[in-house]
Symmetry: C2
Subunit: 768 residues, 2 copies
């Protein structure tokens, strides 16, 4: 690894490569994408939570003006697919399991014509008993949502009985013994809400045919390679028969994974022979969306009188709604981090994912780590408070360290939680502020709270290719989209650093499943680390070829070569130099052949060896740590909480583009404030009550606190140029920090997010 | 290399991968390509052969209805570019040098509006003295077409003075000595015509902006990577700022190289901010085309009385018209093959490419090898006839052999000319037919003639990448288009063979300069050999990764593994097997990382070391050989020549897709018949007299002889699975074979193609 002081491009704040076209309004997002002769489609969503489809008659719709095609279950393959469990179909077949499930769709010459035709589709339902509570759903009397589930081909075994989509059980140490050693045992329950990802660009896609008549999907999706795989699975065709191309992506936050309406548009395109566009309205996007699943988390923690945690039992129950989707995976992550950022030698965790007739949940930024972090970090403060310990001191006594093992038995490495915590305390002037007078004015109290975060870094596979142009510029091929986080700029910086080029000499090719090599996608905070490593390795592969020829041309040994700004030079004799364009020309026309590089990357093997039942998180190469400190004012009369300031410290190993990291932290903190205080999909009897941005309240500029984004750089051995990455933790620690600050301010503990004024006042009343 | 008997996919006749969409009419050729909000453009072509542009006023055109943009030289960068010499600009600047040179262009809402607006562009010319004959153009009194040429930056030095765009001189042995050793010296002159490539799809492109607002060209072009480079050069931007995507390609035959109207469309797109389409009419395509240049070839050959050629002097003069374009390269190839397929120890060749005010010529299938082959093979028969030798015996006495050197001093290898000649003689029943009675009926005479061909195989660079999908299918990335020859199918077969997969498990990604690694293009008969080698090496690179993991999973050594039909198995224990999809899944999720492969290929180094002046052909890895035997009937009253049968024997090393090879041979022979007898761009005072398919006569079904396409397979050490390839020779040997058959039939020798009835009758008259 290069020394930090030697880095030329990595570590420099560069403007985003996609900045100009986005500012000029020339970037084409999926809803803007157009093709000639394109049809517009509308989807008929189930308005029943659980019902048999007795009759579906689209004959009138088909005759409506401008209608080109109507599709429903009869037009769709009946092979089930899904992210973890194969429980999904393109259209509800036989019965619907939640409101917002696709039942049929129409493609017509205009959106209006499609909408009118939709009304002419006759669906006769026969309602079935419903269940909306994940605990009730486990009762013997509950209706079974997927009675035929055992016959579905499950990707992961040992799951899926009755309404239990997943049962996961992991254990380290001996909890019984651990609790015996404890002087105090604390049991608490926490609840987190269903949260909508709130991206600006609604789900949209165009499915048509490329110049070779190949079925092609243009979509804004966080996982082009996985969307490609799922398109093939849903349509029951080989992956070579469908192509997925990424458009500009207007935010996702875990909401645009795999496929959503893409297979529906594909069925309509195949039936009509024409391109078909679907753009969801905001209401549709919220109703038919796959939001962050609500979790109920019970913690039982044993502590010695000198503040050492000896044991923990954790039980997590997540509601996945009608289909399991990513909720399975969120549980895998949640159980894996049952200990949080703390050393807990005896730990036992059980996770349940339960089918109900609620909307189909999936996942959001933080996956399941966010939910468990809220519970863990809240309980740390609650225990400290009950035992009269300082919350920081109690944490410090139990901080996880290198060599400790997770409940998945994976050893943990590169732990920097004490550094992020120390820096957060210093930057926020915790000691001084903690001594402030709580009451600021009548009924308004000041509080300060802390939240630590731990999450895995490095998740599964990535690969990249790089090819050089004749003028010495280069193209990177990767499947990684740019959600809006600036990671394309950062990947270019990584390649430029490895090759000794300028960032402006490198571009990233359009993301296209026919050409972009596999990458799991822009999820799990993994892009800089995993795709960054793959891009770096591919660049290294290409660089070796360039150096081989440069050594020959300059008559120096290869190991004497270095490069910078697109010039390869001899370190021992700086007068010997040649531009990369020259080396490339030599290889193209004289010797060696064109420069191409490629590399695959899979950080950490050993997934299959994890003991326990169900689906834990795969092993990760390293871990990332952060600490948030929130300062709040609580109006105890109205229950209104105002976040004054958030100090957010993250160890990113190495900031590839510091400006981008800072932007990530700031955006994440804002989203965390929404999670902590405001945002909630209110679901009653399976119906989302607030499917619009007026009633689903997200933070606006008026709600944004002062943010102090602090970047720590403790280089990772495993990341590209020491980088670890970031993405999810930036919105995590802030949530328990706010809850802890509220208790610090007023002594009132709220264990359910969002901490609305109503919940605060109820908790205050309960305490009194 | 695998034994021929072990080949599973290579060597099998498969239907074309692009067959279905082409038959169904769903393939999108460039003229069919559409984008929303697309403008249509028309180009104003110079109607003067040589003139100063005194005034160009587009103000009225700009105000015409529906006009969005007008561009001319003032809108274009003034940096000259070009294939070999940098003598071109997007638009004529200051003066025009030939009829059909672009002067201005209009983009409008419709083609009609653009055409109307074109008439409103006012151009005032001041005519300059003209020269149309390449010999006159070398006189001191001739007007200089490019007076400022020495100040242009030439890619190749030692060229370009006065009207001489290129002077090349190569020599082996000692010709003076060689002629002294000869008993007879023969001097003859040959002329070949300007020939239009006659593809069905006219030149067309759309230039717009992709979803990232990147300038993107959709074009049907034989050289996507070179088109990319030239777009950047013409527009004076880095290659990362422009993208070139290939549409379906409706024939090219050397007529769709680098750029043509693409930079014009780009200027209009940039100016209007909208996509712009240009589709040439057939007349425009012919007038503004870049046809095969006319050559005059003088041969002086010394022969001993026992039939041994001792020396040859060759002088070639090619007319390139107003700009040098590919004519430089055709001369490089022509001089390199001055000896033809014969052993000539003392050989001296001079080649001149001359600027005139004729239309801008370029190149066509066969490049310059075709012209020299016609001269060489005609003279072989003429010498034999004059000396009373049998033409076959005379050839056999002088056939080139392994280890002989070309006039470029390159040693020649893998010579199979005696095998193709023997097979052609056998298949055509030469001996029996040669003894036939000549006079078939009154005035109609039968004749049989032979033509050998030699051409280099393997030209410069190629590279390829391959990536695997989760289901075990794979995508090949290459810059090589499919002209319609079926080479995409063949490249898939090569990859499938190397990987042990089925052809249907592999596809080729859309050709796109952002993602497709460099390849010189579908020219020079090189696709199977060069791109085939690159694809094979990239597949090998991927296969090694698959085998590494398969060895681990099957617990056998890697060198015990083989694969077939997508299954990897142990050769020693056939019960141990695993599908590639399984290995791929293991690498994706458990260990190793995604499978990607890449490779660069440059067959033969040493370009820089070729002695001599000018621009000879780069060294080639191997050579290809073929023999054509033509049988004709000549009506000596009308001069009409009817080709009865052509026996065409080609050694292709290994036929990758025999059906495709057969199709290539048949198509080539037909085009050769056109070359020999019918096709000619008639240019008078710089004006093409027959710019349409009625007056430019190409063979129709009525003109097609019986064809016996014979595939010889003598494996090459250097080609993929022994394949050498094919493409140009299939239309070469047939031309002199027809000329030789005519003399054989009637004793009349015509030394200028096409051998029209008029030329035949003139020659007959001259002889009498």
């Amino acid at each position: 690894m290069r020394d930090k002081k030697d880095l030329k491009v990595v570590g420099t704040s560069l403007p985003r490569v996609d900045g100009v076209q986005k500012v000029r309004g020339r970037a084409v997002y999926a809803p803007d994408f157009e093709l000639p002769r394109m049809l517009f489609a509308k989807v008929l969503w189930s308005d029943r939570a659980h019902a048999k489809i007795v009759r579906l008659d689209a004959s009138k719709a088909l005759k409506a003006p401008g209608v080109a095609a109507v599709v429903s279950a009869v037009d769709a393959p009946q092979n089930r697919y899904g992210v973890y469990l194969k429980d999904q179909l393109i259209f509800a077949s036989g019965k619907v399991r939640h409101i917002g499930e696709p039942v049929a769709a129409v493609a017509a010459e205009s959106e209006q014509a499609a909408e009118e035709a939709l009304k002419l589709i006759e669906v006769e339902y026969d309602d079935l008993p419903t269940v909306f509570d994940p605990f009730e759903a486990q009762n013997d009397s509950a209706p079974i949502i997927h009675p035929d589930l055992e016959t579905y081909e499950a990707t992961y075994s040992k799951v899926a009985y009755d309404n239990v989509a997943l049962y996961t059980h992991l254990s380290v140490g001996d909890t019984e013994k651990g609790f015996t050693e404890a002087d105090h045992i604390f049991e608490d329950e926490y609840k987190t809400q269903a949260m909508y990802q709130g991206y600006v660009e609604p789900r949209a896609c165009v499915v048509g045919f490329d110049q070779r008549d190949k079925l092609t999907v243009w979509t804004s999706n966080q996982q082009i390679a996985e969307c490609h795989a799922e398109m093939a699975a849903a349509l029951d065709i080989p992956m070579t028969e469908v192509r997925v191309v990424g458009t500009a992506l207007g935010g996702g936050f875990g909401g645009k994974l795999k496929t959503h309406v893409e297979p529906i548009a594909a069925l309509l395109a195949k039936k009509s022979g024409r391109p078909v566009k679907i753009v969801l309205t905001r209401e549709e996007d919220m109703i038919a969306s796959r939001a962050r699943p609500p979790y109920t988390i019970r913690l039982k923690t044993g502590v010695t009188k000198d503040g050492r945690i000896t044991a923990r039992e954790t039980e997590l129950v997540a509601d996945c709604g009608g289909y399991s989707d990513h909720v399975i995976g969120t549980m895998g992550l949640a159980v894996t981090f049952a200990q949080g950022a703390y050393k807990i030698p005896n730990c036992d965790v059980k996770g349940y994912v339960i089918y109900t007739n609620n909307p189909n949940y999936s996942c959001m930024r933080g996956y399941g780590a966010h939910q468990i972090d809220f519970a863990n970090e809240s309980q740390m403060d609650m225990i400290a408070s009950r035992m009269g310990w300082d919350p920081v001191e109690f944490r410090r006594k139990n901080l996880i360290e290198d060599g400790d093992v997770l409940v998945s038995t994976q050893p943990i490495t590169e732990v920097t939680i004490s550094q992020t915590m120390d820096e957060a305390l210093r930057r926020s002037e915790w000691n001084k502020k903690g001594k402030r007078k709580k009451e600021r004015k009548e009924n308004v109290y000041y509080g300060i709270g802390i939240g630590n975060t731990i999450i895995n870094m490095g998740l599964l596979s990535s690969s990249a290719m790089i090819k050089f142009n004749g003028d010495g510029t280069a193209s990177i091929l990767t499947s990684v989209m740019d959600l809006g986080t600036g990671n394309h700029t950062a990947l270019i910086q990584i390649a430029a650093e490895e090759l000794g080029m300028l960032a402006e000499q490198i571009n990233i090719a359009e993301i296209d499943s026919d050409t972009s090599p596999y990458d799991l996608g822009q999820i799990a905070s993994r892009t800089i680390f995993d795709a960054g490593n793959a891009v770096r390795l591919a660049a290294k592969n290409a660089r070796e070829k360039l150096y081989e020829s440069a050594a020959e041309l300059l008559q120096v040994p290869e190991d004497d070569l270095d490069s910078e700004g697109g010039i390869i030079f001899s370190r021992s004799d700086r007068s010997k130099e040649i531009p990369i364009a020259g080396v490339n020309g030599y290889r193209l026309w004289v010797k060696g052949g064109p420069v191409v590089g490629s590399a695959g990357w899979l950080g950490k093997p050993g997934f299959a060896e994890i003991p326990g039942e169900g689906y834990p998180q795969p092993p990760s190469k390293t871990f990332i740590f952060g600490t948030h400190i929130a300062e709040v004012e609580v109006d105890i009369e109205t229950g209104r909480v105002t976040v004054l300031k958030v100090t957010a410290v993250h160890d990113v190993g190495q900031a590839v583009n510091p400006l981008g990291v800072q932007g990530q932290i700031e955006g994440g903190v804002v989203q965390g404030v929404g999670y902590a205080l405001m945002e909630e999909l209110q679901v009653k009897d399976g119906v989302i009550q607030n499917p619009d941005f007026l009633n689903y309240r997200m933070p606006t500029t008026l709600d944004i606190p002062e943010i102090d984004p602090v970047i720590l750089e403790i280089p990772s051995e495993y990341g590209p140029f020491g980088a670890k990455g970031l993405g999810e933790p930036v919105m995590m620690g802030v949530v328990p920090a706010i809850a802890n600050a509220i208790e610090n301010a007023t002594g009132v503990r709220v264990t359910e997010v969002p901490i609305t004024a109503e919940r605060y006042l109820q908790a205050m009343k309960k305490k009194e």
